[in-house]
Symmetry: C2
Subunit: 153 residues, 2 copies
């Protein structure tokens, strides 16, 4: 895949990722390590929770989305360098067996005022499940290098 410089990116470009299937044992393993709450760890306990069933940690969804982006979303030269997010929400839970994919839309492109070799882009990434329901939405700010001058010119 070609790496992108700031000059290659424009508002309204959309990048769609591949898909990843989320297995129950992965949900439980992630939760055991990072988010040990009953509705992420145990089907029995999850039934009695506000979710009514086992669901993935939102941070697991976030990490899986990063993987989808790294494998096939927007690909700035030098890496996907997130400096932060303006918002992040989980409108719908992720369940065992769900298949996720992400769509990233470029919503702003601007050169840095202080650093002529780089710029910032804002990207809204929505993660969908197999039924087209949004399970995560975030707007991220990424550092992107500008294309180096061609030394032959």
């Amino acid at each position: 895949m070609t790496e992108q410089y700031l000059e290659d990116l424009a508002v309204a470009q959309v990048y769609r990722s591949g898909r990843v299937r989320v297995e129950k044992d992965q949900i439980i393993a992630f939760a055991a390590q990072f988010d040990p709450q009953p509705y992420h760890l145990d089907e029995q306990a999850a039934r009695k929770s506000v979710f009514g069933e086992l669901v993935a940690s939102g941070w697991h969804t976030a990490a899986l989305t990063m993987r989808l982006i790294a494998d096939g979303g927007v690909r700035p030269a030098g890496g996907v360098l997130g400096v932060g997010f303006d918002d992040l929400s989980w409108p719908h839970p992720v369940r065992p067996g769900d298949e996720l994919y992400a769509e990233s839309e470029v919503i702003e492109v601007r050169p840095s005022r202080s650093r002529p070799d780089r710029g910032l882009i804002r990207v809204r990434t929505t993660t969908f499940n197999q039924n087209g329901k949004a399970v995560q939405i975030f707007t991220g700010n990424l550092l992107v290098p500008r294309r180096p001058a061609d030394p032959g010119l």
Copy 2:
């Protein structure tokens, strides 16, 4: 630890977590699974990157922060139910050997208008390294149940 209902939470309360040490092999394992970029995966390649050294994925820092909170931060009855974030930033990278802890400050408490059994709190959580540098800051919105009426009254 006592679970908290909306009535137990007040603006300016601060919850400090325990500590977690971030090992190099954990940084690489997380990156291999979720954020396979050179500066998270490989020390040699990281030296040539914008970071100049191996650093943790921001999503790894986020997941570790969730673990710190789950183990000893704010603890609403029914679980730490994040519905989303207003912002999230990584002002400083996390390096192998860093020791992290989190401080969460309650910045808003409000009952739900539509659901009398619950409310929302806004919490600003800052994750610090062993030198007191902020490595992650986010403002999250959590669902918190109200204390059930005492049936004996």
